[in-house]
């Protein structure tokens, strides 16, 4: 007769092996290497918690120092490949296969290791997609997670940076996997229970907080006049006419400029209360002036942001907070919110091709996607109407019967025509294709597919791709806002003028915007210090952003 409980029995064996190094659920930091060797098995599917923000850094370091003679061929299933140790495990042969979402700071090394055959790549996912696979075919056997504190029973307080933890624990623990948490301290009573103790098998007192990257902090001092111009175009030419109230902003200086123009330029245009009232958004410090000026009603967050915790606690009408007062973030829920309950995603990218496909992958860098492909996609499962969604749907298909016409999400790519070191944003062919060829991937790593992109904004104007009726129009609309790049200079000028006459392309002057008005004095805060002052001293900028 078949044994239907092999996974529970395997877990019991792992727990028994680990117990040798534990007192109750508590494992001493010094015993961590032997403990991990005792509970892990070669070939295990392991989630080492880490995303674009918080990191289970102590567990990562210990894992990277294991003896590959004992523990090898691990299959890592994790959101972020961010710390050097995340790749050291592959370098050393402890791990072999990788499924992930985001690799910001390790993007160059991961590209090198993939082409060197050190890593067997499953796929590059969006966050929500990887989480989904945790419940279907990539369920971890062991999860190594990070929390702020634990009590003796293993109840965990994850603090403002809850992020992926509930999702990882849900998938692992309820499928008979083992959950090991690193915490900064063990306390008698946790401030709030983010993860119930009966789902957590072992706790390591790391004696220091887990690492968090201040990824969403943009210094207003570095915002350029061109970025201000693109922000003015976005507010007046997109947010206002569509009446966009529910949205997500990506990371980047263009969207930071939009946030800082709301209380000044947006106010002047009479848009308060009409746009930008509800966000799925990390707590961007650059949104503080707009929040303080009463623009924003509600924000749900994927994670927290370094230095923002006191401000968030003091603004519980706006943010989601627990009974303890601190922020509760949740990446999976916020990604779902962005997919189904937001009418717009706006963000930057590194390359856009003639069909509007965009990618942050270049031949030497695989940055992964994070949440952008999810936030920046039109959900075909959506059924509730809203003004911007219906209007965008009508733009795309004016002749369809209104009652049967799908709405469309506004998916906007914003940027300057030339990026760092004069590298053009617009290209004939994405580097992602060459990379896919080189690495023999089935799919090129495209961040946002062209058919999901509704608008492209540059200093040259706004291209409304929803209004394009064929591929030629689409290509010329894109060339038409590509400025002085090769792609832009190769435009068909007559066709671009015809598209402009139809409102497919709108130049600054078509919107009554003088580029000379794009002045840094329009920013509601012009430095990190201004942001701190706007928060009434509640925002405590991390040291690398302090110059006073």
């Amino acid at each position: 007769m078949r044994n239907w409980s092999t996974q529970k029995e395997a877990l019991a064996l792992r727990r028994y092996a680990g117990q040798r190094y534990a007192c109750g659920k508590s494992v001493a930091l010094d015993d961590l290497p032997q403990f991990l060797e005792a509970v892990l098995r070669p070939g295990d599917r392991v989630c080492l918690e880490g995303d674009n923000q918080k990191q289970a850094d102590i567990l990562a370091k210990a894992l990277a120092n294991l003896d590959p003679g004992k523990i090898h061929d691990l299959h890592m299933v994790q959101s972020g490949v961010v710390l050097p140790e995340h790749l050291d495990v592959f370098e050393k042969g402890v791990a072999k296969r990788l499924d992930f979402s985001y690799s910001g700071p390790q993007s160059t090394r991961i590209a090198r290791m993939l082409s060197g055959g050190k890593i067997e790549l499953g796929a590059v996912h969006t966050y929500l997609e990887l989480f989904a696979r945790y419940f279907i075919d990539l369920t971890p056997q062991v999860a190594l997670i990070a929390a702020v504190s634990a009590d003796r029973d293993g109840n965990l307080y994850t603090g403002p940076n809850t992020e992926d933890t509930p999702t990882v624990v849900e998938a692992t623990s309820f499928k008979s996997g083992m959950v090991v948490a690193q915490v900064a301290e063990i306390v008698d009573k946790v401030p709030r229970v983010d993860i119930p103790g009966d789902l957590v098998h072992f706790v390591v007192d790391a004696k220091k907080p887990f690492y968090v990257e201040p990824l969403f902090t943009r210094d207003p001092g570095a915002i350029t006049e061109t970025q201000i111009l693109t922000a003015m175009l976005a507010i007046k030419g997109l947010y206002a006419p569509y009446g966009v109230r529910r949205l997500n902003h990506g990371i980047g200086f263009n969207t930071a400029a939009i946030e800082l123009l709301l209380p000044t330029y947006g106010e002047k245009l009479g848009l308060k209360g009409k746009i930008c009232t509800h966000f799925a958004l990390n707590p961007h410090p650059t949104l503080i002036p707009a929040i303080e000026a009463g623009w924003v009603e509600q924000i749900h967050s994927f994670g927290s942001e370094v230095g923002m915790d006191d401000y968030l606690s003091a603004r519980s009408d706006i943010f989601f907070t627990g009974p303890d007062g601190s922020l509760r973030s949740n990446r999976a829920y916020c990604q779902v919110a962005g997919l189904y309950a937001c009418d717009m995603f706006i963000g930057s990218t590194l390359q856009i091709d003639l069909q509007g496909h965009s990618s942050t992958v270049t031949t030497n860098r695989i940055a992964g996607f994070g949440g952008a492909p999810n936030m920046g996609s039109d959900s075909r499962g959506r059924r509730h109407p809203s003004e911007p969604w219906l209007k965008a749907g009508a733009d795309a298909d004016p002749n369809a019967a209104a009652g049967l016409r799908r709405g469309r999400k506004l998916v906007v790519q914003i940027g300057e025509t030339f990026g760092e070191k004069n590298v053009p944003l617009f290209v004939e062919q994405l580097d992602a294709l060459e990379l896919a060829d080189k690495l023999d991937l089935d799919l090129a790593p495209v961040m946002i597919y062209g058919d999901d992109v509704s608008h492209i904004i540059t200093e040259d104007g706004i291209a409304n791709l929803l209004l394009c009726r064929d591929n030629d129009e689409r290509e010329q609309a894109i060339r038409g806002v590509a400025g002085y790049t090769d792609v832009g200079r190769a435009r068909d000028r007559k066709m671009v003028e015809r598209l402009r006459a139809r409102g497919v392309i709108r130049r600054p002057e078509d919107l009554g915007i003088d580029p000379l008005d794009a002045d840094r004095r329009m920013l509601a805060a012009r430095s990190i210090k201004d942001l701190m002052l706007a928060s009434g001293g509640l925002y405590q900028p991390p040291s690398q952003f302090r110059n006073w």
Binding site: T224, T226, T417, F418, G483, Y484, R489, P515
Partner: protein, 105 residues
């Protein structure tokens, strides 16, 4: 360092009476633009010293658009470029033309 020079026939002469104006700074990613009103009203000469080589075609396109869109006749414009992007170049040129229209402060 690359040196470029363009002699253009702008559609409109610069307005105002100010003799010279200067905008921007020489810095990485930025540029300094000196405008002097000392040419016939139907001519505009633009001399460029740039740190970035190989962008002559881009400069030409930027300058063509500039003299079409902005009143630049009669101006001798000298540019010291620190590798600025074209959007920054267009902006500084437009700022320069606006400044030379204004009365001296």
């Amino acid at each position: 360092m690359e040196k470029l020079s363009f002699t253009m026939k702008p559609s409109t002469p610069a307005t105002g009476t100010r003799a010279r104006a200067i905008v921007g700074v020489v810095a990485s990613g930025n540029l300094e633009v000196l405008l002097e009103r000392n040419l016939p009203a139907n001519i505009c000469i633009i001399d460029i010293a740039t740190a970035a080589r190989g962008f002559a075609a881009v400069w030409e396109a930027v300058i063509e658009d500039f003299v079409t869109r902005r009143p630049a006749g009669g101006l001798h414009i000298s540019i010291n470029d620190g590798g600025a992007r074209p959007d920054m170049v267009s902006l500084r040129l437009a700022q320069g033309v606006r400044l030379i229209e204004e009365l001296e402060a």
